[in-house]
């Protein structure tokens, strides 16, 4: 079966592409899928991670994935090749002159046992260099990403996440997209709240103190910490796509609010798109202290 990737792609419209694919399958996945890039004109960072996660999800369901329409070096295909998308999925880059762009941290598959090491030794140093900030100033960002990877190991049946990061200096933004092809947030929430739609499940999961109890000792703080820093303190945004749930969290008058996105589509597992406002990241000196109550 061929899946055509057309026009501009990001997480939201890729959900629609995947939904059409699932509908066309009629409940039975085909043995082979060809992702066709011929008519792709642009792809956003969120689209890179989502597409990679989709391909991994297909492979994990024993579907043989191939790529077509990749002979011409269009802008979108070159961007994907520079992001190491084809190296990740194909084993090699398409074009010999493809290299990671200065403003991107290429697509990486991170196995959870090594995730904190990768965050500490690759992601944070790269961000520090890109943004001209010391590591201490990025401790809140480091914590947020670490919380997400702990969520992946606690709630996903798969211990791999795909990560792609891009810095947009002109917009003072960093887009960080993380995806896993586990069971999805709604399925996890439904272990505790039986009747709930996928959008509401994402909202429920974000509430401080809500835990599915999957891992003993969890107190349901992880997503709340992420939202509190990225949205309330930093003024950024977070978009969750998980199964048929699509929710954006953003700040209104210093409060975190959410909106169900009018996206009709399906996301295998979970994709989290985080937009940081780089101007709001506070420069912190390296200080060590003791806890005072």
């Amino acid at each position: 079966m061929q899946v055509d990737l057309v026009g501009t792609l990001d997480g939201s419209n890729l959900c629609a592409v995947v939904q059409r694919f699932v509908d066309d399958c009629g409940g039975v996945l085909p043995k082979t899928v060809s992702l066709d890039f011929r008519r792709l004109t642009f792809i956003r960072p969120a689209g890179v991670t989502f597409l990679s996660n989709f391909a991994l999800w297909l492979s994990s369901n024993r579907v043989d994935v191939s790529f077509s329409g990749i002979e011409n070096q269009t802008g979108a295909i070159k961007y994907l090749d520079d992001s190491l998308f084809f190296e990740q999925h194909f084993g090699r880059k398409l074009f010999p002159d493809s290299n990671p762009r200065r403003t991107t941290l290429p697509l990486t598959r991170v196995h959870q046992p090594k995730s904190h090491f990768w965050i500490r030794t690759t992601m944070i140093p790269w961000l520090s260099g890109s943004l001209g900030l010391n590591h201490t100033s990025l401790h809140p960002v480091q914590t947020c990403v670490s919380e997400i990877f702990n969520n992946i190991i606690d709630h996903s049946t798969k211990d791999i996440g795909s990560v792609f990061v891009q810095h947009f200096p002109n917009r003072s933004e960093v887009c960080l997209s993380i995806a896993d092809f586990g069971v999805g947030i709604p399925a996890t929430v439904r272990r505790v709240v039986k009747v709930i739609d996928d959008h509401d499940a994402i909202i429920q999961a974000s509430r401080d103190g809500f835990t599915s109890g999957t891992t003993k000792g969890n107190r349901g703080a992880g997503l709340d910490i992420l939202l509190n820093y990225v949205v309330r303190i930093n003024g950024g945004k977070i978009i969750f796509h998980s199964l048929k749930g699509h929710v954006m969290f953003y700040r209104v008058r210093n409060q975190v609010v959410h909106r169900k996105l009018s996206v009709e589509g399906f996301c295998p597992g979970t994709t989290i798109d985080i937009l940081f406002n780089t101007d709001s990241i506070v420069r912190e000196p390296e200080e060590i202290g003791e806890l005072e109550w």
């Binding site: 000792g217 107190r219 003791e290 806890l291």
Partner: protein, 97 residues
């Protein structure tokens, strides 16, 4: 008695690392009235770690005792913030329950 997180657990990222620290603290408190927990060489602590290391102690140690007997030192601002906020929140919920 000084418990160094980096020696006992290697880091402050995961729940399992937290449990290792909690066991070390409980063992120390069974012998000593006070224990010092040092976060030297540690950059951040996640909520999973703090839950495993400290919040779970509240099942066995009243918060007021925890504050008197466990001293946290050599910690970055992020670590201090995470420990303080998580413990205060959970202790408040326990008090209300």
């Amino acid at each position: 008695m000084v418990i160094r997180i980096v020696d006992v657990a290697g880091g402050a990222d995961t729940a399992d690392q937290g449990y290792a620290v909690r066991h070390a603290i409980l063992a120390a408190l069974s012998r000593e009235d006070k224990v010092i927990v040092s976060f030297d060489c540690i950059d951040i602590a996640t909520s999973s770690f703090v839950n495993g290391a400290f919040v779970a102690l509240l099942d066995q140690l009243p918060f007021s005792d925890f504050k008197r007997r466990v001293k946290i030192v050599q910690a970055t601002k992020q670590v201090l913030h995470m420990v303080r906020t998580r413990l205060t929140k959970e202790a408040t919920q326990l008090a209300v329950a």
